[in-house]
Amino acid sequence: MKKILLFICSALLIFSLRDPAAAEDQVVLTIGDVSDRTGNVYVDQLGMWQYLEDLLNVEISYVYLTQEEYASALTSHNLPDIVATYNNLSTILENGAALNVDPYLEEYVPNLLHGPAGSSYDVFRQLGNEGDGFYFFPARIGYNGVGYSNSAGNRGYAVRWDYYKELGYPPVNNEEDYLKVLRQMHENHPFTEDGYPTYLFGTENFSGYSTAFRAEVSLDYWAAYKYQNNIFTNEIFDGYTDPAHSMWWTSMAWFNRLYRAGKEDDSFDMDIFTQTSEQYEAKCARGQYLGLHNAKGSLYREESRKNPETLSGYGTIPSRGTNLYTNVYQLLGNGSLYMWFISANSPHKEEALRLFNYMCDPDFLREFLLGRKGVTWDYDADGVPRMTEYGQEQLNAYKEGSASEENYYVQWGGFGTLPSNWPLLRDNSLHPDGYPLDFATISREYTAATMTNNISRDICEHYGVELPSDAHYKAGGLDFRNDCGEAITSCMSSLNRDQLHILSKAEAILENVWVDLTLAETDEEWTAIRDKTIRELIELGEPEVFKAYQQQWDAAAAIIVPLVRQAQAANGVEPYTPEQYERFP
């Protein structure tokens, strides 16, 4: 009896202490995204988000912040509960705007520590200074590309595919082969079908030094300055004063070859020095360039409207000379490009932490991406996750463009409706059951079945493969599985002001010399300009800057590379051996 009375009294006491307003007013968790608007405009009204809201017992308000709004909120300490940003990281820390979540991870975000995303925390533990906190959650950890693709790829020896087919698909394994093919195409087609002049090769502007075809050199996208790494060994190179390992200098040599090759028949586009983006895009869309450094889809889009069977468009020649951008393990997700943090002033820290826990929870993410288990997908008797008949039917209709309100995925979301930085794990991350989180669309079978591009199909048909990426591998091409450049760069601190000043001057020197290098009439002239430029750069002190950068790089690489290898092993991706890439300089 005493116990019953004690229970009743306790219950009454708790009930009387409870804030009735709090019971009625649901917590509104605000998420501010500083990136460009992506995904579904009404993402927070989709079923998938409402499912998350129910689990968290909160209402989620997802808003995009302009730079001005973000700066104002940061200054006034009036940030949303959760913020995605790619800049002002140091300002955020200096202002104390971000919550140090390190003390809470074990209790609230165990999925981060003990799942695939745990590697990002391991990096922090090993690279972070003593006493530093863990402030930023990475976005979309995992493999960028899964080793196969239904597109012809956009990096490499890109050509107008219809003209290339006319030539009988001549193999291209180096720049010599490539130039030969381009010249032959120009000879055959000095003008487009619409009467516009054609040019051997196009680039958006001449600072696009990623145009060179140095398969062993990492992409310029995330390379700081002109310091790019070997994607097999992850050694760092000085792109300013080491022409043998510089994509920029290789590009200059390539454009000089183009100039000299096109001088006789005006097939070199002199406008590339001065044309605007619009002019360049217009020429691409008209198919005036026979080769491009980066295959564009505008020509194919335009032509396929007129002729559904067209092959007018750009495709990348399967080759052993270029690398296919796939199997890139993004240890720190999108890296410094996008980070999430919880506002230090947030009144809803616990809810925000729990949200991040869900965002790297494979069980939750499987449902978040594909719909509820038992409705759209389920495990079969062998424990293999499969779409249900209903789920597959809804997915097919959705992918075919169904906008019916009745469609499950129109209501639920998924497949491109999320903002680009959600969730923390990529859709192709492996669930503990051994299948991708999104097993429904990330599979060779689905990829092959949904391949509609004529050029991709022509590649498959000609090279006798299922997918265009297979043709690339078949031709001896490799991918980026060994590359850790992006993750290493993300972990490095900025150079000091003097070093940055030197690199700024170095860039100006290169910018000034590119016209001379391109328009050099002889090899001797080109070499003289190059040597003179390198001397200027050395006098400027650039090599000292590189040494400082290299020290940082090596320290970070010593930690990052083994972690990436671990992730590769966990995902069943074998790294390349030295024997496989020894043919690259």
Binding site: Y196, D271, F273, T274, Q275, Q279, L519
Partner: protein
């Protein structure tokens, strides 16, 4: 009064008369002046103002732009590129990049200026547009029309020429939705030798005029700008431009033309001097039938509006009139309903209403005074009536109470006709309808007759109620006990326990043993009994009084015994007998009572009581009976 009524009628009809006159005048005015002419005159007035504004704005606007552009082209990066004197192609490209970067930055500063171009004397062209750069150093690549080129190249040094509009061919295939369809070139031949033989050109699109003409846009007329060769460069509104030649020659006074849709328009034109453009304004006009229809419609609308306004005024006036009238009517109704206070009426400017208001108030006040008197009298009457009814009710109730009380006392005489041993008679006459006195007699058993007489303190209903209680208790006690003192003691105890009203009662109680004539009695504060023994006179027997019943608990009473012989009589009474008061204030007293008794001592008990009563009544005369008058007389006749 008749005049006043006429005035009232006129005032009621006045708004209608005004309304009718107004409409008639309006209709007459509209038709007499001619609606079409009026519109044209209005258009001319508007046009004169607008032309002045535009002519004062357009040219300075262009001149301002040209001046700005002249500053831009003075930059060395432009001049050096214009000269085209380079040692190598790389130098040329460097100069081109430098020129491009400069022009691209500068061009964004000007709204409405779409591009900056330069044409050398050999026809080669270079310059910058917001979305592209034009470097046609080969004259063969110049996309401008030959006529335009000739116009520009033929200009005199320092002269500004206007060419165009030119087509989108300038954009060499990278046109997009932002590319203007109509571009006008302002070109002038430089006098600065550092340019070489070069004509700078400023490309303007129509947006340069948008702000200017948006101010003038009235939603009806349209504005047109024609170049010197009668080419339309800019227009606002719908493109229903009649023959340009006719428009240009319309003049400032306006000309009626027919446009491409067959509609009549009124065109006004004004020639500008620099550039040699013509500004035209086209005002749409209706045909005659349309004008008539429009006039009719407008007149109808205006007449309707006037009618509605007049109706509204009339309605407001009528509403006010009716409010005043209703106020009066309400006053009369209220007066009829008896509301005769001074009334607040709606203020009125109508003298008849004011008089009526005053009369109503005066009559109302007079009536109110009379009604007040009547109401007061009626109130008094009602009060009296209520009291009377109340008294009647009380009397009726008391009468009923008296009957009840009488019913509670033995009232059948002789009470025990079979018992020849006694002759007993009693009476009770309450001073009010009910009294506090009572008597009783009953056989406790075959041989014992209980007699009692009592007088409750107070009178009226309370005394009667208490009497009933006391009687019951005494009777019950007497039936249980044969001991007189114990009967009184028990009765006293019971009454004291429940005597909330603190009343008391005097009692004389006796029990006569019929077989022996022994009377055991006790007196609880009551009047002395009177005995007549041995055929003598009635005499008071001054027994020992005990304390009244109900006054104090645990009182003991002393009983005494009187041996009654046959022929002896007992007379007990209440104080109403000796204390019966005459008009003079003198009380009847026990002596007169004894005299009365003795005057008929041999008579039956009934006669004796009647005689005493008569004597008392005679003594009291007209005086009001103050107290209950209760008597009981017993004659013991002995065993039979």
């Amino acid at each position: 009064m008749k005049q006043k009524l006429t005035s009232l009628r006129l005032r009621i009809l006045l708004p209608v008369i005004i309304m009718t006159l107004f409409v008639v005048i309006l209709l007459t005015t509209m038709f007499s002046h001619g609606y079409t002419d009026m519109l044209i005159r209005q258009a001319q007035r508007m046009n004169a103002v607008s032309f002045d504004t535009v002519s004062q704005s357009v040219v300075p606007l262009i001149d301002l732009s040209i001046d700005e552009v002249r500053k831009i082209i003075m930059d060395e990066r432009v001049r050096s590129y214009a000269r085209l004197q380079y040692a190598s192609e790389a130098d040329l490209i460097h100069a081109r990049i430098s020129c491009r970067d400069y022009l691209r930055t500068e061009i964004t500063r000007f709204e409405g200026i779409f591009g900056l171009l330069f044409m050398r004397s050999d026809g080669s062209l270079f310059g910058s547009l917001p979305e592209g750069n034009l470097f046609y150093d080969d004259p063969e690549d110049n996309p401008l029309a030959e006529t335009v080129k000739a116009q520009i190249l033929g200009a005199q040094p320092g002269q500004t020429v206007w060419a165009g509009p030119v087509s989108g061919s300038l954009f060499y295939g990278f046109e997009n939705e932002k590319t203007p369809k109509s571009i006008m070139i302002a070109a002038w031949k430089s006098t600065d030798a550092s340019y070489g033989d070069c004509c700078p050109m400023m490309l303007m699109d129509e947006t340069i005029f948008d702000d200017l003409f948006s101010v003038l846009h009235d939603g009806i007329s349209s504005w047109h700008l024609f170049t010197g060769d009668q080419t339309e460069f800019y227009h606002t509104g719908q493109d229903t431009c009649p023959d340009p030649e006719q428009l240009i020659s319309a003049g400032k006074e306006g000309t009626i033309l027919t446009d491409q849709n067959g509609q009549s328009v009124c065109a006004f034109s004004m020639a500008m001097t620099s550039p040699d453009w013509t500004l035209v304004r086209v005002v749409p006009m209706e045909d005659r039938k349309e004008v008539v229809r429009r006039v009719r419609r407008n007149v109808g609308i205006i007449a309707s509006i006037v009618f509605l306004i007049a109706l509204a005024i009339y309605w407001l006036w009528l509403k006010r009139f009716m409010r005043q009238f209703n106020s009066l009517l309400d006053g009369i109704i209220r007066m009829g309903q008896g509301d005769l206070k001074s009334m607040e009426f709606e203020p009125s400017s109508i003298s008849e209403f004011v008089t009526m208001q005053q009369e109503i108030n005066r009559t109302s006040l007079a009536l109110n005074e009379q009604m007040e008197t009547i109401r007061r009298m009626e109130r008094d009457r009602m009060e009296l009536e209520a009291k009377r009814k109340e008294q009647e009710l009380i009397i009726r109730e008391l009468s009923m109470a008296r009957e009840i009380q009488k019913g509670a006392l033995p009232h059948t005489f002789p009470p025990f006709p079979e018992r020849k041993e006694i002759d007993l008679y009693a009476s009770m006459d309450p001073a009010q309808d009910v009294g506090g006195d009572f008597y009783d007699f009953f056989f406790i058993d075959e041989d014992h007759l209980c007699l009692l007489i009592a007088d409750v303190s107070g009178k009226g209903i309370p005394a009667a109620l208490f009497m009933m209680v006391a009687k019951r208790i005494l009777e019950d006690s007497a039936r249980l006990e044969h001991n007189v003192s114990e009967i009184l003691e028990k009765t006293n105890g019971s009454l004291c326990d429940s005597n909330q009203a603190e009343m008391f009662v005097t009692v004389w109680l006796g029990i006569l043993e019929i077989s022996t004539g022994r009377l055991t009695a006790a007196n609880a504060g009551h009047e002395y009994p009177a005995f007549r023994k041995n055929e003598g006179c009635f005499e008071l027997y001054k027994d020992k009084h005990g304390f009244v019943i109900g006054g104090m608990k645990d009182v003991q009473y002393r009983e005494y015994i009187i041996q009654m012989n046959p022929g002896d009589k007992l007379f007990v009474y209440t104080d109403g007998v000796p204390e019966a008061t005459a008009v003079s204030g003198e009380m009847f007293g026990t002596n007169r009572m004894l005299d009365a008794l003795n005057s008929c001592a041999d008579s039956s008990t009934e006669i004796i009581l009647q005689e005493v009563r008569k004597t008392v009544d005679a003594f009291v005369g007209d005086a009001r009976q103050f107290d209950d008058l209760t008597m009981m007389c017993l004659e013991y006749r002995g065993p039979q």
